[in-house]
């Protein structure tokens, strides 16, 4: 006795169609559809372009990093910067700012291991090893471009030793090494001929003073300074006693 759902189906059909016929869609439907299609296409192109540009930028950056060896070297030097932090000095002191000849010079020397042997022997034993240093590494004399600037550069070994100890620090900062150094090396012999008699006594006198003053700047200096202080203290104590 169950009634089929189509018993009232015809009535429902008439009602639904009458309700639907009352709806009159707007005539601008096709135009609206086309406008939406165009907007959608424009948006798609925009996003495709944005994605392609971003991908291209990433690709170029990756290619530069991969195929340019200089960047890898810079990355290696970046690790040296970490070694500079090995010193307990505050991190504010960068390699470009080294005003005094104090302990900072030693920290800079620690940062560049290649220049360490050239500076350390010149500081520890200025009189004896200086000629050997100036003779063997011509680059040291070249780096010590200010050697020619000083008038006392008559003796080839001694002036090379002095400037290496005194002015090796500013050379490492930013001064252009190659051009002035080579020009300075050539004039040095000309000046040596004229200045040899006078400076010979002077460097002997001057050498101890810079070595004494510069010895603390080099690594062995701290060992010497406490000794000096202890001796001074002992002398003072003895004198006081």
């Amino acid at each position: 006795m169950t009634e089929s759902p189509d018993e009232y189906g015809e009535v429902l059909r008439r009602v639904l169609r009458a309700e639907a016929d009352s709806v009159v869609p707007s005539a601008e439907g096709l135009q609206i559809i086309r406008t939406r299609i165009e907007q959608r296409g424009v948006r798609g192109i925009f996003w495709w372009r944005a994605a392609a540009s971003a991908f291209g930028a990433v690709l170029v950056a990756a290619a530069v990093v991969m195929f340019v060896p200089g960047l890898k070297v810079q990355i290696g030097t970046g690790q040296h910067i970490i070694q500079v932090q090995y010193d307990t000095s505050p991190p504010d002191e960068s390699s470009t700012q080294r005003p005094p000849n104090g302990v900072h010079a030693s920290s800079a020397v620690v940062g560049s291991p290649t220049s360490r042997p050239a500076a350390s022997p010149s500081g520890t034993a200025p009189a004896v090893p200086s000629p050997s240093v100036t003779a063997s590494p011509g680059n040291d004399c070249a780096t010590a471009a200010p050697t020619a600037v000083e008038p006392d550069a008559s003796d080839s070994p001694q002036p090379c030793a002095e400037p290496t100890a005194t002015e090796s620090q500013p050379d490492r900062t930013t001064e252009p090494r190659p051009t002035p150094s080579r020009q300075s090396t050539t004039p040095t012999p000309t000046r040596t001929a004229s200045a040899t008699p006078k400076p010979s006594p002077r460097p002997t006198v001057e050498q101890p003073t810079p070595t004494a003053s510069q010895a603390p700047s080099d690594p062995p200096a701290p060992t010497a300074t406490p000794l000096m202080t202890t001796e001074a203290d002992s002398s003072t104590n003895t004198s006081q006693e």
Binding site: P5, G9, V11, R17, A18, E19, S26, R34, I37
Partner: protein, 186 residues
């Protein structure tokens, strides 16, 4: 004033126009399908979403989606089925969104009856429409596709994304719910 004459503009009558020639591009297909099915699809959507403007928007979105998916459409003969399914799904989404909005929106006064409702037939028709609107979404979709679209169970199942058995179940339950109201009209 019962609507005795049934309009010939049904989805069944235009079903033959759902086939689009193979060589047509998306623009030509959209234009042809628009001229043949836009009105009926808007009316179908209106019965589902109960709003003409929203129904038009739903159908327009379906056409835009068809244009974008035209190259991926394997069988262009099923363009109408694609549009119908898209309209049903989008109408369902609209109703779901509307239910959420109405849940949190302040409730206003009920709609005042229009002058057309003065006639008895109009009142009875509106009563059926109101009863239809009170049905669950699936039941309403099944009834509208069955009695307005004159679709077969297989086509309804494809449009709704359910099985034929589910179509039968939803149709029977919907008709059972409308029986009281329909008895007054018959």
């Amino acid at each position: 004033m019962r609507p005795t004459d049934v309009t010939t503009e049904t989805l069944v009558a235009e079903r033959s126009l759902g086939a689009v020639p193979v060589g047509w591009d998306a623009d030509m297909a959209v234009t042809a399908l628009y001229s043949a099915h836009y009105r009926s699809l808007v009316r179908l959507a209106m019965l589902l979403v109960r709003d003409t403007a929203t129904a038009e928007e739903v159908v327009q979105d379906a056409f835009v989606a068809l244009h974008g998916a035209w190259r991926r459409l394997r069988d262009t003969d099923k363009a109408l089925a694609y549009l119908r399914q898209s309209v049903v799904n989008r109408s369902r989404s609209v109703l779901r969104h509307r239910a959420v909005v109405e849940k949190y929106a302040p409730k206003g006064l009920p709609d005042a009856p229009s002058a057309e409702n003065g006639a008895i037939g109009e009142l009875e028709r509106s009563a059926v429409i109101e009863a239809l609107r009170g049905l669950p979404t699936r039941q309403r979709e099944a009834l509208v596709l069955r009695y307005y679209g004159d679709l077969s169970e297989a086509e309804i199942a494809h449009a709704m994304g359910i099985s034929k058995g589910a179509v039968k179940s939803h149709t029977a339950r919907g008709m059972a719910a409308l029986r009281t109201t329909l008895e007054q009209l018959s």
